[in-house]
Chain length 446, copies 4
């Protein structure tokens, strides 16, 4: 059994996202044909989660034989001994051109890591996320539901039946091996072979397109220096230039986006942060909005967050909670030395510039994206941030945003129409963030 | 000199609003023909402001003879002796069908009062607001600029020149009587007569369409009881059925919207408030979002605010500052008995229901819109709130929102392109709200 | 069976409070002789709680025959039929001179109501409070523990044994009637008759002396008008001049403090509040500290709170949580129209004056103490607030503060020395206020 | 001219602090004899401030010839060429035994640095601080007032006249050289020679005794490891073991406190901070109060602040403003990942323990005192913090706290009695922190 190179896989399939209804805000996933190349990302440093990833991989390989399984090289080297079939890996620069779908197993941090692999891309594959024990605010499915979850995502766009997503077949698949063996691999090879009644797009997976921020770093002369922000510090990144399967290196082609022209923008799914880091003194940052000077922040740091990021660091810093579908970006100061720096919510299209004041007296501040330090910035340098434009292209595909598969209700969970367009956000507010948790009562219900 | 009835005026002219540029967010005012019927609303209880209103009226009458001047009856009875020409008034129910444009002289409260006259209407005339001494956050023009402001609004849509808006003519008009006399009334009778170079739409007034909230009140049986919210408490409202000019009553026709079918929704420009009012005990309110139960608020009250209202009561209650163009509504609790009720920002289209819990034990709570008490509500009753949909109709006109004329830069104020799309919001943040006011420095610049 | 007049009871016994240790902050209750006159205050409008009050009264009458039971007249009229022995009542003005101890059954509101009966007094009897179902932050004992609680309080100061507070005797008393009958009334008539080993003062009840605020209202001429704040609105207050037992009126003597000299100060246990009440406009209040002008508050209202009150209204308004033993008072604004009005914590001895600005334009604001409206105040009037001085007199008694009996640990609850000086505050923070309630975890433990 | 060793100076004179009045909270400075050894600390990296320090030194040398002038070695090496008389310096370990008084020239940072030189001492000499341009919240005197300020401090305790503190003599000294020459040095050699009317203690300098926190660091075995916190990072500290004047080393004696017994506690004047520092992940800290577990903080960091520190970092993190005389300590979280971690204010005597949770997974967090990083702490280690006890000893001297000389009003500034006990705090709130800065008004008055 070998670890094959991602570069040898067929090119990425780009799905469409349809508006489910005039007023609904969630989109409906539509594959042009069944997805083939699935990147599986388990949580770091969590052996049990790797075991779950293996179980998930086996299920896909057995029941959906057309599916190719990709792992980051760090993981691939661990799991390929365990898996009785070939898997794929490579330098992450190959991912954007080959990955149809990403499945994460872990918490919010794992989703952020998955998104960071596509952080210079305008089109991110759909992300199916499983929470593993410690619940995350962004993670939508419980791991136990993985068979149903996968089938729903896989069938999305098919005109073939998905009637039994809730039915005996899937239920058995979840539990009993005997049943599962009955479902011969061929059945799932392509939608044409799938059994059951055609339920059309209405049973397609629901997609929440999360807004991102485009981030560029510029030196004092206005030259883009994004290259300095290239990831260097995290585990999987150390393997960038260290391919497991030597043969694969033959076809290693440098990623086109990084060789020619301006360096690509980085995209943040939670936030861009400038922080004093280990320096004991206050950071001093000039903030501009659409080229107007807004204010001079004297603070531990400044966060520019997406609505999705409003429940992350921004929340801890006193920001409001913004629903992910509000097209906006947030400016939230961290420990500002002012009584009157209230968090701001601006149109997503606002151009925000953070410029390091001369008054920082030679210190470097730290720039991070989604919780990963990217670079130190010095006096005169600036970080430009702007909401990424999410839009439908003429061919019906989309550009921008991170398409997250939202957990669909299981059989028996659909009580009324309301649930249909539910994005799980209120559940997360109450259940995870303990929003407006009542005083003096024994906790019940959550 | 008599006070004539508004009902005898020609019907309202509805302007169009054009997008100035692909990315600009301000709109451009376009009259189909010069505006004719102008409602002038001075601040309450401020004799000096009434004097300014008189000066403004005289200028309009002299230099733009086609313009009819309307006042609320309370004001009309004061000023008609002073004005050497006929003015108009009536029950406010006639305003929506006849008013082309509203001019307010005062602070934010005066703008709110103006908007409240159209609070059951989907189409509100443009509002040109002058701040009078005490600056307001919503008020855009200084009163001293009234001649330039008026000319800009009046000419918007004309293909006739407005080159001299900044020029000697207007400047003289502002200051010197001699010049002003030269400008014979006929000049402004219609755009065709206006002198000067054609500058087209680019010099048209900039419009900020402020979002509103649609509010409905329902009893425990789900019956709409908006009629109970009819204004009863404010000065001009006492004159609703008390026309100054008896003759005008002849043509008094009941306002169509209020006679047939469901009572109209009310629209809030700042916020909907439910509050404990004079009751010493905490209010208990169940909040639903899109028919899902969100939480039980135990608090002094609950605010549902527009982005515009984010700098009003919501700000005092700890809410974030939201730019008026972010399509959103805010749920901000007032003194919640919880450590974890963080303000929420939701899509403008969210349906919010506030329901009075049985646990209020028989007390009435108070419902207010934009700072005016509207009704008391009892157990089981609910208030339904939803962002008003602002959209362009097929004929190019718009429905929804309050079109506010934004102050355009005067000659010599245009430094670079940036100012062109400036909505004055940042200036208000720094100058009025003292946003992020720096520590320990002598105040300068503001 | 009759309802007797409180005036006929022996005069109040004033206990001493000893410092338990050099560094301990709780005090130790020391009766000069067993307490005799106990005022029992059940929660309002809660019939079940009245039943508990009856059970408590019967236990005291049976096992501690020297004890006289007093009820507010409103309650007395309900319960005297049920109780097979005489009880006492009167106009609350007689309470200060005759009540040795107050027992409340209810939540925090009941304790506040109890304290309000002594709000013009400098020396308040100890308050033993039982929470009834809905837990309160101030209520220390569960009602089920009433026998142990009472015995501990009753024996405090005795040199006679209390060894069996934890022992079979009390336990039986709590549960089994048989045992209880064995304990003949005489046993408890005086401490000398009490059985068991002498454990001395160490088993005496622990007292937390809660700080209060002294409040005075003054008109525009500086004349004290506290008389206008006399209670008028609550149920029991309507009975002030309406004695149940006519005979009792014979000996009705006007309360000395209210006849001669300056009107007495009112004391707040939670806070003094000035609020806009039902008026839709912002209140404008000038605040002075020790005769220096501090600031002009433009807000819904202003709270001056005790440390105890920091977990009440002040908390909802964004104030910090202050431990009850920090000698301080809090100025917390309610919805201030300012970004920079951070709550203040000042020495308890600070003289705070709240003065109604002329800018309120003729409106009245509302003054409340501990959640009860006391008066409306107009322009020019001022409210003067100051921390009450708590001090030990030469005879070893104390003046000032509300002595609250803190729940002592039961047998088996004492794990280490730490518990000995525990005031239950941390338990309340976590268990009731859900302080720092963790994200994303299933609630457990509370 | 040489730089002499501090060790050769006479031992420190310890003043007494008297209560000015029964209720006054400021103390009155009383030297047993005129102060002799003055440590002058100018702001770092500010050449102009060093010039002012030189001017101040010359004035002291000329007019108060008994006074010895001490500088940190780093400064001494700069200024001794400029000064026509000998000055003193040494390793800071000699300061506690020889410095009578510290004079700082700079902002709050300079005062913090001065206090840090005595951070292991229980008795800190009085600190006279001059603000230099950029105002500080803790700095009391303007530098221009240095002659009056010095004379007031110097004469405090004398029974000799200070009548001319406001008078022509001092005024002349401030401005005109001629006058100054008249005042022969001998005049100020001792109080006995000082001219003028005896005004007694009432004109003595007012002292605000600022509370400090005692900080100890312990490893996982409970062993005190304060030695690891010894200063290492700041400029002047690099000179600790690098004496300018070789001869002085002869008498260098190791500081007794650091050789024998337990390492001394460190004292913070603003706060103790544990922070995630450069690590991107949240810190996890268990907090104990008086040996009870309070909560697990998941946050950027935790601040334990003094009341003085409440206007420093704690303010930026959302803490309330605490008057320096409120005997308390604050627990303020920095960006806690919780909606319900409200800042706490506890009795100054509370024992707070911060323990690094195992859940930090091997990372080090950073411990800082008053803005200076002191050490990294790892899992299992704990930081113990407690308010320092400030008390009067039997001989009338005090232990604990930092005695800060409060600016006394100049002639013509005393308007009424109020000012007499003014600690300048309200002035700082309004003038420096822009407390409750009014909306929408042109700034005036500050
Ligand atoms: N003081 C704070 O609150 C800090 C927060 N962060 C946040 O952590 C993020 C990185 O996450 P990890 O790598 O897991 O770091 P981590 O291990 O420090 O955990 C951050 C926590 O935030 C949660 N989280 C992440 N994104 C979220 C979102 N959008 N909504 C709600 N919860 C969210 C995670 O579930 C986790 O509990 C950063 O993007 C930043 O937003 C990072 C540092 C400090
Ligand atoms: N505690 C508070 O902050 C309270 C605020 N209000 C606000 O006042 C509004 C009514 O205004 P008035 O009739 O003038 O009452 P008002 O005379 O009480 O003044 C309210 C203040 O809010 C300002 N304001 C109003 N709308 C604003 C906006 N959208 N952005 C920024 N500032 C704004 C006004 O200029 C004025 O200074 C209400 O809609 C409510 O938002 C009302 C009561 C209490
Ligand atoms: N928005 C708010 O938070 C409001 C709070 N209040 C508070 O209510 C108090 C009056 O209490 P009730 O008559 O029971 O009124 P209530 O029935 O409105 O209940 C107030 C709530 O506050 C709790 N509470 C009272 N004092 C407390 C304390 N010192 N610490 C922690 N919790 C406390 C009570 O248990 C109850 O849950 C007032 O003194 C005021 O502090 C009153 C009105 C509004
Ligand atoms: N985000 C923030 O607010 C941060 C605050 N600090 C504070 O800075 C202090 C160290 O001061 P520097 O060495 O000058 O650092 P710095 O140069 O970073 O300045 C801190 C600022 O805080 C002011 N300050 C210091 N102590 C104060 C007090 N007790 N009350 C009011 N203002 C005060 C200073 O005047 C200065 O403006 C630390 O003790 C910490 O309290 C330190 C880091 C971050």
């Amino acid at each position: 059994r070998e670890v094959l190179n991602v570069a040898s896989l067929p090119p990425r399939l780009v799905p469409k996202y349809l508006h489910k209804s005039a007023k609904g805000c969630l989109l409906s996933l539509q594959w042009p044909q069944p997805p083939r190349n699935v990147l599986i990302i388990p949580k770091l440093h969590a052996p049990k989660v790797v075991d779950s990833a293996v179980a998930f991989a086996k299920h896909l390989h057995n029941d959906y034989p057309g599916v190719n399984l990709i792992f980051e090289s760090r993981i691939a080297s661990h799991v390929h001994e365990t898996l009785p079939f070939p898997i794929y890996t490579s330098d992450p620069t190959y991912f954007p051109d080959h990955i149809d779908l990403v499945a994460t197993l872990g918490g919010d941090g794992t989703i952020l890591r998955a998104a960071s692999l596509f952080s210079t891309q305008e089109s991110v594959p759909p992300v199916l996320s499983f929470s593993m024990g410690t619940l995350g605010f962004l993670g939508e499915w419980k791991f136990e539901e993985y068979k149903r979850a996968w089938r729903e995502v896989y069938m999305s766009g098919s005109t073939v039946a998905v009637q039994d997503l809730q039915g005996p077949h899937t239920q058995a698949a979840t539990g009993a091996r005997a049943e599962s063996e009955q479902s011969t691999p061929e059945v799932f090879a392509g939608w044409e072979n799938a059994r059951g009644k055609n339920m059309g797009a209405t049973r397609a997976s629901k997609i929440l397109l999360r807004h991102r921020l485009k981030v560029g770093m510029y030196d004092a002369d206005g030259v883009n220096i994004n290259e300095q922000m290239m990831p260097t510090a995290t585990a999987e990144q150390n393997n960038f230039h260290h391919h497991l399967h030597p043969a694969s290196e033959d076809c290693a082609i440098p990623h086109p986006k990084t060789v020619m022209g301006a360096p690509p923008a980085f995209h943040a799914i939670n936030e861009l942060l400038i922080h004093r880091g280990p320096h004991p003194h206050l950071a001093i940052i000039d903030i501009y909005l659409n080229n107007h000077w807004l204010t001079e922040a004297v603070a531990d740091g400044i966060l520019i967050s997406t609505p999705t990021g409003s429940t992350a660091y921004s929340l801890s810093s006193g920001g409001s909670i913004i629903h992910p579908l509000v097209k906006s970006l947030l400016i939230t100061p961290i420990c500002p030395r002012s009584l009157s720096f209230r968090p701001l919510v601006l149109p997503l299209t606002t151009k925000v510039v953070l410029k390091l004041s001369e008054r920082n007296r030679g210190r470097e501040l730290e720039v991070s994206i989604d919780g990963k330090r990217r670079a130190g910035v010095g006096i005169g340098m600036e970080v430009r941030v702007e909401g990424e434009i999410v839009r439908k292209l003429d061919d019906g595909s989309w550009t921008g945003g991170v398409p997250c598969v939202i957990r669909g209700p299981g059989k028996g969970e659909i009580h009324d129409g309301a649930l249909e367009d539910d994005d799980g956000w209120v559940v997360g507010l109450n259940g995870l963030l303990k929003f407006n948790y009542p005083f003096g009562e024994p906790p019940s219900g959550f």
